[in-house]
Symmetry: C2
Subunit: 367 residues, 2 copies
């Protein structure tokens, strides 16, 4: 029997490319991923101040305005010398250095110097002159002009997320502003899952679509009073929990219907909606969680053809599965240290097998 509680399929919005009303014939998750990865990245970009650009995605390629370093520079602190003048120097045969300018890292090398002699390899002569007690070869302890980067060579590529390092380099290049991709506009229809979904959308770089604009992505959680007319293209997935999800479109805007049960909603968001949102915004598509590889403390079973997402806690050096795939709601999600994804080709993982855990928080281990 067809599930009488399934949401009605709405076909008012243009022709439907594929509607599968039978949940027993679910789309596999590879079809869903192909569908997601078929949507293009946003073309909209904006100029923002560098001091507000952390984590934004670069929408231009930034080249070095000049050679880096712009001059021959010291790489260590010491005395800039002519390497030839140190030949034969040693603790018992200190050699006076005709050229000996104290330099610190990053300072320009004085004219004529071609190496930096560390302070430890120097001593003071009887009249205060600097003497070498060791030798250096030409180029030691210094970095020639342009060695890191030649002028006008690309240093930061289009599409790169802006890290602190990249923002430091932009400042070094004299950029006060930077062109970045816009945040994708998301229309999230209101439901009991809004408090869960809003921070996920924020994490993945989405913002609420401004009133009166066409969004870049529409999310319709189960239980929301659907205000959007859309055509479902994939209805029901071989995903557990979260298989009630559906993928479709409203005119040219992608629409993802999410399950009502919170753990299923979360799982479908993570594997489907989050991926599409990151893709639209030009971020890496993969799940944003850090991962670790650990053995399972006991086996997990799964149905062939299904992707199953199992919450685990880290115990000792292993990952311990938490109860059933579908029970426990957000309590289970919050109790977990992470989750394991069982791919469709597997019937599960054996006890002791090494699995990839997607971690929900940073680990507190050390360098």
């Amino acid at each position: 029997m067809r599930n009488p509680l399934d949401p009605p399929i709405n076909e008012r919005c243009g022709p439907t490319q594929r509607v599968d009303t039978n949940h027993a014939r679910r789309a596999d998750t590879n079809q869903a991923r192909t569908w997601i990865d078929g949507w293009p990245q946003l073309a909209r970009s904006e100029i923002v101040d560098r001091t507000h650009a952390l984590g934004r995605v670069l929408a231009e390629t930034v080249a070095a305005p000049h050679d880096i370093p712009p001059f021959d520079q010291a790489l260590i602190a010491g005395y800039a010398v002519r390497a030839a003048a140190t030949v034969g120097a040693g603790s018992y045969t200190p050699l006076t250095q005709p050229l000996a300018h104290a330099v610190t890292r990053g300072q320009p090398m004085p004219d004529g110097a071609d190496a930096v002699l560390p302070f430890e390899a120097t001593t003071s002569g009887p009249t205060g002159q600097i003497e070498a007690t060791g030798t250096v070869a030409e180029g030691d302890g210094m970095e020639p002009r342009g060695q890191s980067l030649r002028a006008h060579t690309p240093a930061l590529s289009y599409g790169r997320p802006l890290s602190p390092e990249a923002l430091g380099l932009l400042a070094q290049f004299g950029h006060q502003t930077v062109r970045v991709l816009c945040h994708p506009w998301v229309r999230l229809e209101d439901s009991a899952n809004t408090p869960l979904l809003a921070p996920l959308i924020k994490r993945d770089g989405g913002i609420a679509a401004p009133a009166g604009t066409e969004p870049d992505l529409i999310l319709i959680p189960g239980g929301a009073y659907a205000q959007t007319e859309f055509a479902l293209e994939l209805d029901g997935l071989a995903l557990r929990p979260g298989g009630e999800a559906g993928l479709g479109r409203c005119q040219n805007v992608p629409v993802i219907r999410l399950p009502q049960e919170p753990l299923a909603c979360l799982t479908a968001y993570e594997l489907l909606a989050g991926r599409l949102l990151r893709r639209l915004g030009g971020r890496p598509c993969a799940l944003p969680h850090p991962t670790c590889q650990v053995p399972l403390t006991r086996k997990i079973s799964s149905a062939i053809g299904w992707v199953e997402v199992v919450r685990v806690v880290l115990a000792g050096n292993g990952a311990e599965p938490l109860g059933s795939t579908e029970g426990g709601g957000l309590v289970t999600a919050c109790r977990a240290d992470g989750f394991v994804i069982i791919p469709p080709g597997r019937e599960g993982f054996g006890s002791g097998e090494i699995v990839t855990v997607h971690l929900l928080h940073a680990r507190d281990d050390d360098w």
Copy 2:
């Protein structure tokens, strides 16, 4: 000889516990870590709206206000039945179900029902009545009241960073606001490295100390005109790059002096200042980068007793070291995919040896 370019040591601020002016007698990084880990977490907390709490650190323990689930609930969609009434049912022996309420996941179980029969295991009888074509055991497809969590049991512990899952659970518990640790107040003295350091501080949860307040942490980059009088306790570390760093205090506030050269400044921030900042704010101390384990494409040498931080690019399935430890500045930092930390007890890593790479960006690999 003492390096004449070393910054003068300022002892105007109370007695100095340990001043080592000789950079050849550097403190090892374990001393630095012990010093860092001796500072206590902030005690200040504040109440914020749940919708602004993503990533903040919980400063209370939140208990379930009632049993979770609050009633016996369906875990799957189907017909809520009495399990006993399905005994003997099969495709050729369908059994009429006296009690058969359609339920979807998360709905309360009706009185008298003790299992959920999936729709696939049902059929319509001649008069439209629901018949079972399969059996269920008591408890199948449902979750008893309180199974996830009993009322008044802690669900989210003090000190937990607030993930989307945790915010969803707070909403489910009816919390509109939540008590979180304050952002640590950082006084960053201005220097050419401010554009690099400001986003690092932001990433680690610090904010600029409000005018007129005592900060929780003072950072003095090399080249800054030091406005702070402080006593150095560890001056110079066996860390490369970044060994010019110093650790000290101004009255009861920790002070970290950072090197002037950008790559050294970045490295000392990551291994020292970032750790202390995360610690003060109650976050996990460890480096916040995701990691991966890959083989080195060629060997890296290092001096015993020193921690060396080597930038690498990921190439093929391996990590390729980028030039020398200290050259290249932020260009090298931006070219790298990550960095490898060589611990003090090692003389380096061999070619082909598996190392932990701290990644500077999310990987684009798939589930």
